[in-house]
Each structure stands twice: as structure tokens, then as C-alpha cells.
């Protein structure tokens, strides 16, 4: 493996929604250079790869940022930081306008205002949202994009984060990138728990299986303060395809019904987690399976739904084509395995209002940042703006010196000499442990103090074994690093759940 040294002003880890936006905002406000480091390719990476259905965070007429903060606080089932919520909410509508100026199709009312679904959602065609962002980044000469580069550790000098280590996914290169300020925008973590379909379709998750919690793990290892890891996000999704349900529930007004045809959502409430918990209860009390009642909707709605799902979750449209359309057949629903994502709940880096983490020189935005749930796309963009401004303020020092990367290189190279190929097996073992002892699907998301103690020791043992996995190429090495990241996040989740039980 060769070492390549790079330096920049603003290093951004993860070129998803928040990462791309932060790079653009930074260049708008300064003459500096930004380096966007992305494990895949910013054209289609992260949560936005397949497209999105709507802009879910917006403040419609007659409402205020405070209303949004209040809504998010009420929906949350754990501590949130109101100051963070408010600072995000104030910027939401501005980001919608900017997205439109980049070419995003947004539905308008006859008077030119945005057409909303409820007061918080803007109707769009979100299939191409990621290519639009990537296109804007490509037009800014001061942004360097390093695609297919997987970040795995911060460079910490004294009490400051001064860059990151990354490896190329396709070629034998270790990148050592130093910067005056660093933004973590690597998204949240999927793949910690056994998924709905643990066999061949085990990557048919809601949250992208390629967001492995790298940024969280890097923060934990560097000693950053984290928050809200007990607030796991369980999504209510279309069974099997794990496609979003909001379009059916809010878009065509489909109610949640049990096998007896009873509308059960009122019984439990309609907050995000209540919808999931109600479904779990109905199943547990032998009134499942549960459905969204779509049978009987007009056939024109079938066509519009087929298109809407192609724009974000094409598998669901294929399911309808292979079986029967929603007007004929109710859509079965189910809870997913738990995810950790600061875009929906409050888990992630503990940040100040300017999105500075507890480590000097390190900022966080989007799903990586905690304390501020219900961000969705526009909230991630809002946080990216705030973080870019703060990073700019922070950057006064001379560029940091590159560290000696030889020890890091030696650790990585060692994996090429081991002969036990165990990543897939260890990942399966980890997901099974989390499922059984840390509140996965098979335990209806419940856990006990005793179970968590078992999980803790089993995950520690898997972490130990992961240190001698074998790699034959760079892609294997990425898989090993991803497994180790997930294990660190699992440990953080278990520790947080133990506190809940205490």
C-alpha cells in the first residue's frame, strides 16, 4: 500500500446530503479549498441514492420554526436539544429554495407557493436529488472530490482533530489528509441488528447498508462526546421491500388496520414510534398481520403511487406489478430492525449550536450529528450550513503537519497476512447477538439488563476476533473496517441501553 499525503482547508468526510451542501456553502463564504472524501461516488451515494419522496422538513404558511421544534420534541421519546432544533428549523425553508434553484422539481400552488402535504412536507420529484447536488459540486473549482475513499480514523494532534486517514476502495492507497477543520458527515449506522430478511436479501434495509456508522466509531475512538444512542430508530415500512409508508399513510390517507380489519392507530397514537409499537402489539396479541388499508382507492391513484415509489423505492412498484396493485390489495406493514441515525432520532455526536463537537476542529452535521431529530434532507442541509460557517470561523491556524502514518499502514497491511476469512460470519454473529440480547425484531425491540450484559460480552468477543480477519484486496479491507465500526457502534448502543435500564 502506498501512502498519499493531501492537505486542504476544510476536510468533509462523506459526500451525501450534508457533505455536498457543506462544501458548497463553504465555498460561497470563503476563498478556501474544500476536500470532499466519499467512500462511493457522490453522484449516487448515501440515503439519497435511490431518490426521495418529499422534503419532509419544511415550515408551511401559518407556522414558525418554534412550531417545528415543538413538533420534533413532542414526537421524540428521549432528550432532544431545543436550541439545536430551533437553529435548524430557522434555515429549513431557505434550503428548499436553494434546492429548487439547483433544478429540483417542486410542486407549486396556482399562486406560486409550494404545495405542501400537511404543514411540514413539500411535494417534489426527488429521484434526481443526488445527481443535482453532485452537479453543483462539480461546478465549484475549489472543491476537490475524492470518490471511492473510505475514511476510518481521525488524525488527532494534541487536543485537536487535524484530518483523517482513509483508504482507497479500489487501489492500494492510504490517504493521509490534513486540514484546518474537519466535518463529519458520514451519516448514521445500518446493519447493526439482524434485518427483516437475514438471507439473500439481507441488504434490503431501509437505511443504506453502506452507512456503517464510520463517523460515530471514529468519534468514539477519538474520545468525542456522543449522545442519544439509546434512541434507536425503528421504521414502519412496507413488508419485504422495506419501502417507506408515509406516501400511503399521508399521501392517500391509508389507515393502519389489523387482520380483523380494525383501524388500530388511534389506540396507540400516531407519533412515529407509536405507529411502530402499535403494530408490534397487534401482532403480539394475535391480531396481525397489519396493513395499510389501500384496497378500494381509485385506480388512478395506483398509477401515481407506482410512479412515486419508482422515484424512491423501485422495489415496491415491482412488487405491485408482480402481485396486485394497492387499489386491489392492502399493503402489509412491518417494523424494521433498529438503526442509529441522528436524522430521525437524537443519536450522534453531541454538538453545540454551531455544530462543533467536543473535539476541537471537528464539526458534525446531518445523520452523524445528535440532539436534533426530524432533520430529513433539508435539516441535514441546514446543519451543513451552520457547520460550514463555524468551521470557517474556527480556521485561523497554519495548516497542521502530517503525522507519521507508518504505524497505521502496518496495522492495515497485517490483514493481508491473516488467513481466516470471517467478515460475513462475524457480521451475522454480531447481528444475531444484537437481535437476541439488545432488543431486535425477534424480541419485539425489548431488552433487559441481564440480556444487555450478555450482549456486551459477546460483542466484545466478536470485536476481538475481528482483529484477525483476512483481506485479499482493498475491498475486503473496507469490509473489515466496516465490521469493526459497527462493533464500536453496537458497544455504544449497549452502553446507552444499559443506562436506560439502570
Amino acid at each position: 500500500m502506498n501512502i498519499q499525503y493531501l492537505s486542504t482547508d476544510f476536510l468533509i468526510l462523506g459526500g451525501g446530503a450534508a457533505g455536498c451542501w457543506a462544501a458548497l456553502e463553504f465555498c460561497k463564504r470563503s476563498q478556501g479549498k474544500a476536500l470532499l472524501l466519499e467512500k462511493a461516488n457522490i453522484r449516487r451515494s448515501g440515503c439519497l441514492a435511490a431518490g426521495v419522496n418529499a422534503l419532509n422538513a419544511y415550515i408551511g404558511p401559518g407556522h414558525t420554526p418554534q412550531d417545528y421544534a415543538d413538533y420534533a420534541k413532542n414526537d421524540a421519546e428521549g432528550a432532544v436539544d431545543e436550541a439545536l432544533l430551533l437553529s435548524m428549523a430557522e434555515r429549513l425553508n431557505g434550503t428548499v429554495q436553494k434546492l429548487e434553484s439547483l433544478g429540483l422539481t417542486i410542486l407549486k400552488n396556482p399562486d406560486g407557493s409550494y404545495a405542501t402535504r400537511g404543514w411540514r412536507n413539500v411535494k417534489i420529484n426527488g429521484e434526481n436529488i443526488k445527481p443535482l447536488l453532485a452537479g453543483a459540486v462539480a461546478q465549484e473549482p475549489r472543491i476537490t472530490v475524492l470518490n471511492q475513499a473510505n475514511a476510518f480514523d481521525y488524525i488527532v494532534q494534541g487536543d485537536r482533530v487535524t484530518g483523517a486517514f482513509a483508504i482507497a476502495v479500489q487501489s492500494p492507497v492510504l490517504y493521509v489528509v490534513t486540514a484546518k477543520a474537519v466535518l463529519c458527515a458520514t451519516g448514521g449506522a445500518a446493519g447493526l441488528y439482524q434485518p427483516n430478511h437475514p438471507g439473500f436479501s439481507r441488504h434490503k434495509l431501509w437505511y443504506p447498508p453502506f452507512n456503517t456508522g464510520a463517523g460515530y466509531a471514529m468519534g468514539v475512538r477519538a474520545g468525542a462526546k456522543m449522545t442519544g444512542f439509546a434512541q434507536r430508530f425503528v421504521a414502519l415500512r412496507c413488508k419485504d421491500t422495506i419501502a417507506p409508508t408515509g406516501t400511503l399513510a399521508q399521501g392517500v390517507g391509508a389507515k393502519q388496520i389489523n387482520a380483523l380489519g380494525e383501524v388500530y392507530e388511534q389506540k396507540y397514537g400516531t407519533a412515529t414510534m407509536q405507529r411502530v409499537r402499535g403494530t408490534v402489539r397487534e401482532n403480539a396479541e394475535n391480531r396481525g398481520p397489519c396493513y395499510l388499508r389501500t384496497a378500494g382507492i381509485p385506480q388512478e391513484q395506483d398509477d401515481e403511487l407506482a410512479k412515486a415509489y419508482l422515484n424512491m423505492a423501485p422495489g415496491q412498484t415491482l412488487r405491485w406489478l408482480e402481485t396486485a396493485p394497492p387499489s386491489v390489495q392492502n399493503v402489509e406493514i412491518d417494523g424494521t430492525e433498529p438503526y442509529i441515525t441522528g436524522g430521525h432520532t437524537a443519536s450522534g455526536y453531541a454538538v453545540a449550536v454551531d455544530r462543533a463537537t467536543s473535539l476541537k476542529g471537528l464539526f458534525a452535521a446531518g445523520d452523524a450529528a445528535g440532539g436534533c431529530p426530524q432533520k430529513y434532507v433539508t435539516g441535514a442541509l441546514a446543519e451543513a450550513e451552520i457547520a460550514a460557517h463555524a468551521a470557517l470561523q474556527y480556521m485561523q491556524d497554519d495548516p497542521p503537519q502530517a503525522p507519521d502514518a507508518t504505524p497505521v499502514l502496518q496495522t492495515l497491511n497485517a490483514y493481508f497476512f491473516y488467513d481466516t476469512d470471517t467478515v460475513d460470519a462475524l457480521e451475522e454473529e454480531m447481528q444475531g447477538v444484537m437481535d437476541a440480547y439488545a432488543g431486535g425484531i425477534s424480541r419485539q425491540y425489548t431488552y433487559t439488563k441481564e440480556g444487555l450484559a450478555v450482549a456486551e460480552s459477546k460483542i466484545a468477543a466478536i470485536a476481538q476476533k475481528s482483529k484477525s480477519c483476512a483481506a485479499k484486496d482493498m475491498q475486503d479491507l473496507v469490509y473489515i473496517l466496516e465490521l469493526q465500526e459497527r462493533l464500536v457502534v453496537c458497544q455504544a448502543v449497549i452502553a446507552a441501553l444499559k443506562e436506560v435500564c439502570a
Binding site: 429521484e127 430478511h197 439473500f200 443504506p208 453502506f210 399521501g251 398509477d303 423501485p314
Partner: protein, 103 residues
């Protein structure tokens, strides 16, 4: 959920290998290959990029897939989704990126 690549159609242009969010596609002997189909997320980024519709989405049997295959043909603002269904029927749904979702 995963994808199939029709080798006879693939021209080896490499476009799909650039965009997969999981870097799952690689060129091998001038053909695109997916080494670990079980790692596919089903996002369809690769389908949209392929100029000759060599890539199809399908639903795995473990999630109740019935054998349908869906391709994408891009034409300016339009995405034509072409589904070859189990009974032999073909269904085409066209989405215009200038039209917003109704729901």
C-alpha cells in the same frame, strides 16, 4: 432485492461501476460483474446509468419475489421503467423528472 447483469448486452463502458453506493460493481474482462449480489441495496443507481439496459432489478425469492425483472431506459427528462413480468407480460411506466409526485 438484487440485480442481474446480462453479459451479452454489456458493452463494458464502466458507467455502472462508478455509481454504486456500495461499490459492488467491477469490470472484469470488459464486462460488469457483481461479486456479492447479496450486498445489493436495490437502489437502481446502476440501472439508471446503463446506456444499453443490461442491468435488471429483481426481488429475491426470500422476500417473496416472483421472478419479474425491471430495466430502466433514460431519455432526457424521462425514465422509462420496463418490467418483464412473470406471466410474460411487459409493463412500461414512464416518469418525467419535471413532474412532481402527487402524494
Amino acid at each position: 432485492m438484487s440485480i442481474l447483469i446480462e453479459e451479452s448486452k454489456c458493452t463494458g463502458c464502466g458507467a455502472c461501476t462508478q455509481v454504486c453506493p456500495g461499490s459492488l460493481l467491477k469490470l472484469q474482462d470488459a464486462k460488469a460483474k457483481i461479486a456479492k449480489p447479496e450486498r445489493c441495496w436495490g437502489c437502481c443507481s446502476c440501472l439508471k446509468e446503463c446506456p444499453v439496459q443490461a442491468i435488471a432489478l429483481y426481488l429475491g425469492e426470500d422476500m417473496g419475489g416472483r421472478g419479474g425483472r425491471m430495466h430502466v431506459q433514460k431519455e432526457g427528462h424521462l425514465l422509462h421503467w420496463i418490467a418483464a413480468l412473470p406471466g410474460g407480460a411487459t409493463k412500461i411506466i414512464t416518469v418525467d423528472s419535471r413532474d412532481s409526485n402527487k402524494y
